[in-house]
Symmetry: D2
Subunit: 396 residues, 4 copies
């Protein structure tokens, strides 16, 4: 059983708290911190939390608590993490870890030096669908992963600070690209080094300095591609999907708008439908279990169970650091209009798996390119001569 200081009472603090307090759990939030004391007080009252404060240091140093959850704006993560590391508390930090790769590295070094437990709250790799899909992928159901697309788009974030580049560290890439990058990286394999990025980013709609729409491609050492698509310009709700292609299979995940819940109402229901839904009449696509579907439930289970077992959780500050370095390269590429190298100072991954996935033998002299049943039921076999390289076909 853990006693927690919750830093932050915005959307993310609310989701975290709901996740922790549902399900008759053992772990308890003992103190909550917001930038305005009145917000902290109201939040504490709403969720039955004993103490509240507007002072990060006081929350972190509260003697009863053993765990700090950082759910405050990006520009405050470093401050909170350094304070918590100093206080010797376990630290769970929301995404993105930092405003940049170097800042993330500084935070990583601080927690490692302090020897405290550190978890990176990248919830979307913890959705039940994603966990099960990763399990299938790791068991080999897809063969070698060749490409992973992760997409998060909606009408934009919920707080003013997030629209202000200086406070958030960027726009849609920092906000949601961090999710997409890490999801793809989990499918491709955390041991495979991400090498370079090309990226388009633009401010298409809003009167802001940061990008409100971006697409990027991350090339990994083994040739796999992670593709992220993020937007604050999307209309229709929140589009949260992943697609993974491997040599032997395919996975498609839809986390939000097409999950088997469809409702038409001509008259509405007088209230909230689902996070980021647009409108409340016509065809609506609510989500049954919002906090579960976003991965919060499984994420905190992994964090606290790992703490109890003395092992690392699935996502650590190291992962957060890798993500920040990829984001840095993406911003650089969006400016330079070239592929840009990803600069990981401290690569801890494994060797690249060098297997040649492509070459299937047909016979002594030929590789098989393709075998298929045609509309007239005959079989066509397309071959490549190993010596001459000539491609030919046989119809059986």
């Amino acid at each position: 059983m853990h006693k927690i200081a919750m830093l932050g009472t915005g959307l993310i603090g609310r989701f975290y708290t709901m996740s922790l307090q549902n399900f008759r759990g053992k772990d308890e939030i003992k103190v909550v911190c917001a930038s305005k004391e009145e917000d902290a007080a109201r939040f504490a009252k709403e969720f039955g939390i004993a103490r509240w404060t507007d002072d990060i240091a006081a929350a972190v140093q509260d003697p009863e608590i053993d765990t700090v959850i950082v759910g405050i704006p990006n520009y405050l993560h470093k401050k909170a993490v350094l304070l918590a590391a100093e206080a010797g508390k376990a630290i769970l930090c929301t995404k993105p870890l930092a405003m940049s790769g170097p800042e993330a590295l500084e935070m990583l070094e601080a927690v490692e030096k302090a020897g405290v437990f550190h978890g990176y709250l990248e919830d979307l790799v913890y959705t039940p669908k994603t966990l099960k899909a990763l399990q299938s992928t790791h068991k080999g159901a897809l063969g070698k992963v060749l490409w992973a697309r992760s997409r998060e788009t909606h009408g934009g974030p919920h707080s003013d600070w997030f629209w202000t580049k200086e406070l958030s560290g960027g726009g849609a890439i920092v906000d949601m690209g961090c999710h997409c990058i890490e999801i793809a990286r989990n499918f491709i394999g955390k041991g495979i080094r991400p090498v370079e990025v090309t990226c388009w980013a633009d401010t298409q709609v809003h009167p802001i300095d940061a990008e409100d729409h971006a697409v990027g491609l991350v090339r990994y050492e083994n040739g796999a591609i992670g593709q992220f698509e993020v937007s604050w310009t999307f209309r229709g709700g929140m589009d949260l999907r992943d697609e993974v292609s491997g040599t032997d299979g395919t996975i498609w995940l839809n986390h939000w708008m097409r999950t088997g819940f469809e409702m038409f109402t001509g008259i509405g229901q007088g209230g909230y439908v689902t996070e980021k839904a647009e409108g409340d009449t016509g065809w609506l696509f609510p989500v049954g279990d919002e906090v579960g579907s976003l991965g919060y439930v499984e994420m905190f289970m992994d964090m606290f169970n790992s703490m109890d077992k003395g092992i690392k959780p699935m996502e650590t500050f190291y992962d957060g650091y890798i993500v920040n370095t990829i984001i840095d390269a993406a911003y650089k590429a969006a400016q330079s209009k070239k592929w840009e190298a990803i600069e990981v100072k401290d690569w801890r991954g494994g060797m690249v798996n060098q297997e040649n996935v492509g070459l299937k033998e047909y016979d002594e002299n030929h590789f098989l390119i393709k075998e298929e049943k045609m509309a007239d039921e005959r079989i066509k076999i397309i071959l490549k001569d190993k010596k001459t390289g000539k491609i030919s076909q046989i119809i059986q």
Copy 2:
């Protein structure tokens, strides 16, 4: 915090236990009971349960426990419930409550006389999707509910006793019709009295005495229809869907095979995919969070939270009793080939809401039947003369 005796170690006992032990919960299973001691012992070891037995009475009377969960075959429910009521324990009983309406009534009277907490473990009304859909329905998003179809079909149950009519009380209707009937009843409104049933039931495929396929219609006092479709002959996995139509809206829920998780694998993954999935190559439709999607998580939360608050849970033995009476009428109708009355001995529901949903005024002299935009963009209005009853149309 509650201490629990778990009766049953089959599929249902396993799902219940997984639900209770996930999420770092406070409530603990202290003793487990199976018909064979070796099964109980193996189960206890797997889930870290302190004690095991093959004696229902011993489990129920265990002095440490305050709650009995009944997850054993249907023909044993009554025995277990009467023992637990006598022991003064809170009782949570799996579905169907009993083998028949009269047996259910006996059990209901026993728990009410003993004054113990009683919950009916009808998990499928507790799925996050169903709860949210019920909430929208109760808020009025659909207007008056006119028709609710609930369907559960798959390739048949997992244990020999369930295929044996004497031990289960019937076939697919008893097994799954209980879910479908109660889901429809929740959407239509628990205060509305179910009046009569027509039902087709047949043994189409298996060498058994009980029906392996059935469809029934339950008419409610306010004219609404609950439609149940159940089958042990279905191919392709488990089909678990609800459809609700109201005067002002529609809800479609798909709980199992089309929930936003799609996987193609040419080579499989060497193991279990999802409950009742067929095959492990080709296009597969895994479920991310199986126990959550089936409602187990929310169901136990409601049960234990209600116990703590001293209130009734959403589903009690009374609901189980109503379901059993409807099942009895369905079996009778399948035999008699007529609509059969539902005989509720102890109706506790509310009055029928008598509102006339249909009549929309167009003007002083006409009711509006329909107004629509035609393909050529003109508006067509179809009217009924209040006096003459004549139907006519105007094109604008």
Copy 3:
């Protein structure tokens, strides 16, 4: 190449004409007939048809035409068909064929006596999806068909006469049940005799005499069930789906609202979206090829190709007659609250296929009930002893 008299200029006449005139076809409409000459004239102008009239006899007897298409209200079908038979023209009649079984029989006898080509324009069995699904079913992909559900629901028909029982012959059952009944019959097998019907029908919403919502079950001689669901009370657009279950497979068809075309618009598009769509903002589900998706294109191809080849089309007046007898029994059952026999005067179907689909041998002494992989990867086999009938299980 055929020359056609088109009777009717309502929704159905429009769809028929669009189908015939698309695709640079050879067959030509030479005369069009409407109850009001001005409607006929406007229609002729819109579609470039040479002649128009408000006189059915004149249209039918037009010397240039060889084919009459009957697309007028139900109560006029008989008159038009008898005139056309007398004139020796090929006759294609829209659905339902007649107001009742006896009327349909009279029409069938008239065309057979006159020796003219007769086609029943049951378009929905001709949708490209349905044709392909029927082909797979007939090739055995589903094994024996056990159950076929066909559903058509929307907000009600487009013309005043259709809401008037005396002119249409009934309500939603006559309007759409005819489709659903014949779709199910095609899947189950036209050679299998439909035996009896149970039916619920009610007027739930509209100020009309006819039913606006109904569900019926049609039992076939081989035990298969055809289930029809029809409603004029549905909200959200047009729900047009079929579901078929067989011993070896399953087919799900969605013809209208979920066909791979999804659009969200916050501002609308200032006009028609798709037949029976509700609203023009929010999430919309247009249909790409409306006339193709409803089967009109393939239906007319079959009709004219069959005429040219001198063979019967897939759907003849005999099929229309069978459908009318089933509708009659459904109305009777809705009144009597019993299963009612279907009275086919002139059964031309084949013998019932008596194969025992259910009994799979496991070994000399046992039938196999079920074999499955459990969550823990073990295999469970459920057996029935041939002599004792006892059901048991083995775990491997």
Copy 4:
């Protein structure tokens, strides 16, 4: 009525012929040409075509025919088109128009000089879904289009020549990128100039020289992005989807694997399921109307109707030329690892629409960034001060 020489008897020639011969059409194929006379003869017999040849010039110069359809391998397009232009015939050429931009320009100049009708057979912009989606887009339902993703991936082409770079002009980009590029261009607007491309291309699986997987981004002058995703490495069938995002709406099209036709079969059907389907048991997703769904039917209608009316079809050789220039830039970018300019020699498009889509006034002093309903039902408004640029929020 047109008389046609069909060049090509492979998959594409077969689909074209089926499209033209279905639907009792007026236009007739009079001669067919294949590289091997025996293939031409067999094809002519199968489809009832009067004459056949293995000589392109002979087919093109056949005095009876007025229209040449070019459905032969890419490296032969130019030869066939130049011959047909010389012969003064109308020319319909399959995609891609040419092996490169300069070759396409030469062909364009030839047909324009000869003054013959020229159509570019880009079928996928003619699918009924795409046509309707384009219509909605052009009517303004999406506002300004910001991004269009078009994806075509499958297990690779059906003929040996297509796997041989010298004969096809490239790999997956040439094969399918041409579709995706032109689909996106239609949504974004043909009058908007495509400016530059970034592209990743790799040979991930097959023993070939050409790329078997690629993703590219095409930036248009107005800031919109066309995204193409093509692969011959995809598993599970053919993935054919488009996604379009605009300032006011979203469109999602799925053309192939999720169109409302789902079939499970445990035993198969002994034959062809659908183009590029994998496997014939388990869950399958057939397509009802394959030639219609791929756009062939509407495409030929537009071509022949335009010929008859003396107007340009929707897609001309000029469009084919633009597509080839974009492909050239994509290949260059894949090599250079930079964004590469698209070099259109002869830009005929309109002016860029310069409207400022983003700035919505909130009041005299503020732009509105976002307005939303929060989970607690309050309204949050995020604003930007016009003078200071500061972003702030109001909660109502």
